[in-house]
Symmetry: C2
Subunit: 334 residues, 2 copies
Amino acid sequence: MTKWIDCSGPDEDVVISSRIRLARNIENIPFPIALTDKSQQQVYDEINKNIGEDPYELKLMKEMTDEDKCILVEKHLISPSLVESSYGGVLLNQDQSISVMINEEDHIRIQSILPGFQLDDTYELADKTDDKLESNIRYSYDERLGYLTSCPTNVGTGMRASVMVHLPGITITDYISRVFQAANQMGLAIRGIYGEGTKFLGNIYQISNQLTLGRSEKEIIENLKHVTRQIIEKERNIRKQLLQDNKIQLEDKIYRSLGILTHARVLQEVECMKLISNLRLGVFLDIIKDIDSSLINKMIIMTQTPYIKTLINTEDINLINTKRSEIVRNLLRT
Amino acid sequence: MTKWIDCSGPDEDVVISSRIRLARNIENIPFPIALTDKSQQQVYDEINKNIGEDPYELKLMKEMTDEDKCILVEKHLISPSLVESSYGGVLLNQDQSISVMINEEDHIRIQSILPGFQLDDTYELADKTDDKLESNIRYSYDERLGYLTSCPTNVGTGMRASVMVHLPGITITDYISRVFQAANQMGLAIRGIYGEGTKFLGNIYQISNQLTLGRSEKEIIENLKHVTRQIIEKERNIRKQLLQDNKIQLEDKIYRSLGILTHARVLQEVECMKLISNLRLGVFLDIIKDIDSSLINKMIIMTQTPYIKTLINTEDINLINTKRSEIVRNLLRT
């Protein structure tokens, strides 16, 4: 069970998930890039000892199967670069709303994800975990700069707050370019579903703060909340308008997408995400019944090319596209 | 019940139906173009009295609803020009394998249609009906020319033999241009699903003899059989090859077509026929189960624009396309 995937959240018609990430490093241990096996062990011990009473599960990258690592990446619980790190590990709580990456770019990256639009609760979750660790671990901290991190772009709060939003309406009406512009002016970055440099598949966007220095955590979160709230309203208005002006055409597009997803024998990634996007829109416009957001979240995660590659151990794009269609059909059959 | 639609026939993977049409006129009654009400009645009486013991139903165009007339046209049991004729009528036997059009272009047009590739049986059916009528009616006949008809292109045998074939394989591989060429050399015409001048929708073609003069009925039929037999073999070989070389892609195309047909809320005529063609191919490649040729025949008939126009009494193409999708969904739900 992964809370952000399996559960409902506020404003989930537009906001898929809310995420907070805090970058921390332990004083007197070299940054991961310079780590030896011994100091690597030291990082684990420090974290393990201080994570508190919640049952956390520790997973070491080198002990995990490729498939398991891949699933954690697709679920956004760990980063692809953690997988590459032979000294990397992750602590996960039971509902996977908290993941603590160890020896990624920084010693510690505390991450919390919750379904829907709930940045305050998400921050609280990350903050509590941070407090637990900080009560016993001495972080690298500078009175003037704040938390010190491997990459200067994270120095200060060490925090990245983000929302993953589904904007089919805003995208279809080309209003999206204005969203990009506005976000930029507000110091926010917009990325595709799998972070920097990835394509905007399935009309899904990640919006996050660019600055970590010179603003408090609260200010950063309030800013992101403010912009997201406006985007939610705009997206809802456009959807309402589409439904009013082109009901039949919209229903046709959504039902055809369902028809293709349930019947295709070959599905390319870009097309698949487009169809899933239409389906998600249909679910929240109440056009498609009996399918919920958790099924769609699973579909997004399980149809990503890297995951399928690992699952069937192939680089053959034909086999991958065939498998993708099979995964989708199986998910929609239930 | 219409036999050619509801029943199976030989070689039905390629040949949808076989049809024979005999044009006849009654001696000493003016051709329909010059008919008065009185002589019109005379034509009816002559035919009715001589049609024999089979229970035939007589339908007069002026007494039928637009919808009923339209269905008979779509089923190829009467021609659109009979509908236009206020003096027109049709005799239908119980399984509608025989239809005798009265006062169309000629006084009498005997037509037989059977499912699949069975031109001999189809001819026999028409010929028997012709004999019954001829035993009591004196046809306009010339020793040298043969049967006399309104249009000189029908003089002689007065016969048009045709097969309606489904050639998705031949069409997709562009072999169709060679079929056209060969048919032409053999004195055969190829037309779309609804006769001369109609588009080749759904990869369905009607192949018929062009000449009625100077050849016996048997020769005309043998010639058409010979060409059709070659087309059947070619079509089957191409399908087999497609299945061997592109199985997954072919299955994908066929299943997607089923997915769209079962889900779309708007279906344009051309797209609809293309999807039905894919579905029909899938049925006879045994890729799609639980759907038989009779359902597909019904779908072709009930999705034609003129029929839907009459059914919902509109010229609005949006309403027609919406209704078309509804008809298809209902048919596929059963």
